[in-house]
Amino acid sequence: MRAGAALQSWGTNGNRRIPRFTACHGLHWQQVGISFLSDKNDDHSALIVACGRGDRAALQEIYRREAGAMIGISARIVKRRELAEEVVQESFVAIWRNAARFDPSIGSGRAWLFQIVRNRSLNMLRDTSRELPTEQDALDAAVDAGADYENAYERLANNSALKRCLDELEPRRKQGILLAFVEGMSHGEIAAKLKVPLGTTKSWLRRSLIALRECMA
């Protein structure tokens, strides 16, 4: 689905319209994949703890399992494959360095790993934003913009609580949350994309967070 068609499907007039790509039957294999991965969450925590004790083999096992997903997560934000690979390289150094501070009693190991990737991707965006993009980069970015957040949404399992709760949000607010989390957009970029004032964007996101917290409690 191209970005233009997708935008229409999300609606921009405040209707609580459900995007038409939600009724997708092609998700079956993905659900299998997701449950397989979440079964391994405890493993991730144990591997991170092992890294904290200086076990390089544990780091390599994290790499073997997650490097591909990490490049995927970073590429949604930085948009360029070589930058995403650089982010993942830096992320593994950061994982190694910070592993001793990971507390497995507080949260999921996999989420902790991905947070590092997302933070480094945002740093990369900040660092490279002053570079003049080439014409090809600009074209790629234009094609990609708006596609990644949609794909991420489409790939949510039908029984995902997050999906159910996102669907309760007004479409543009849902879009704002997805653009921020999936594509790493700033308040300003979201405001421009949704054509609403900056202050409105900030308060929308905050109220959406409150709604999600209540919905997912």
């Binding site: 997701i34 190694w96 991905f114 933070n119 900030k202």
Partner: protein, 237 residues
């Protein structure tokens, strides 16, 4: 210590995980994280809420060379590179250091050291840990800024004397069983930057500089006199 509103913190944690805090806000939030358990719990809960969006990501092909690049970076080059504008155009390791200083002078140096370090850090992400290293007389002689990404920036704030055939070696001690681990040699006459992503970055981790034979300690542990030493601490920003 500023009192924080839990509801506000919960939303702030949500914005952090969402990725919409701007650079300064995110840096400030991350500085609070190591000290505040409640904040870490909020972050973990938001991560869990949003995890499905990441768990469903389509993995990309991993280039075969990536792991070896990571390993190379973790092994790190241990010789310092001279960086940035020099603190001094002249040799800073001169006799002046040992002349001693008044307490007021020492305090002024300390304040200067901290402010210089933190201002210098503002151009890039701010240091995670700062260590002010003192001479045996208690005079500040050098500071180290330790960054999340493994950069250790050693900034001299006094003149030292290094006889010919000798070098200065930076060490850190984080595990008494392992003893001091070499951070690197200071072979140039100015601020030195080391890339040591393999080293931990704890508070109360000791940093010190010793005088060693040229090329570094032959035993891998400090053999010469301690020039300066000090503990890492969280900068209160």
């Amino acid at each position: 210590m500023i009192a924080h509103d839990p509801n506000e913190d919960f939303l702030l944690a949500g914005e952090y995980v969402l990725g919409v805090l701007d650079g300064a806000e995110r840096d400030a939030f991350e500085r609070r994280l190591p000290r505040e358990q409640a904040l870490r719990q909020y972050v973990a809960r938001w991560q869990t809420r949003f995890a499905d969006l990441d768990n469903g990501v389509a993995p990309k092909d991993v280039p075969p060379a990536l792991w070896s690049k990571i390993e190379a970076q973790l092994s790190g080059k241990q010789i310092a590179k001279a960086t940035g504008p020099g603190f001094s155009e002249r040799l800073w390791w001169s006799l002046g250091f040992w002349r001693g200083a008044s307490f007021a002078g020492a305090l002024a140096s300390l304040l200067l050291a901290v402010s210089v370090g933190l201002l210098a850090g503002r151009a890039t992400p701010q240091p995670q840990i700062v260590a002010v290293m003192l001479t045996p007389e208690g005079v500040p002689g050098a500071i180290a800024e330790i960054h999340y990404d493994g950069r250790i920036n050693v900034i001299p704030i006094h003149d030292f004397e290094v006889p010919s055939g000798k070098t200065l070696q930076v060490w850190t001690l984080f595990d008494k069983a392992k003893g001091p681990i070499s951070v690197g040699l200071i072979e140039r006459t100015r601020q030195a930057l080391f890339h040591r992503a393999d080293l931990p970055t704890g508070q109360q981790q000791l940093y010190e500089i010793t005088l060693e034979p040229a090329g570094g300690s032959p035993t891998g542990k400090p053999t010469g006199p301690v020039i300066v030493k000090g503990f890492g601490a969280l900068p209160r920003l």
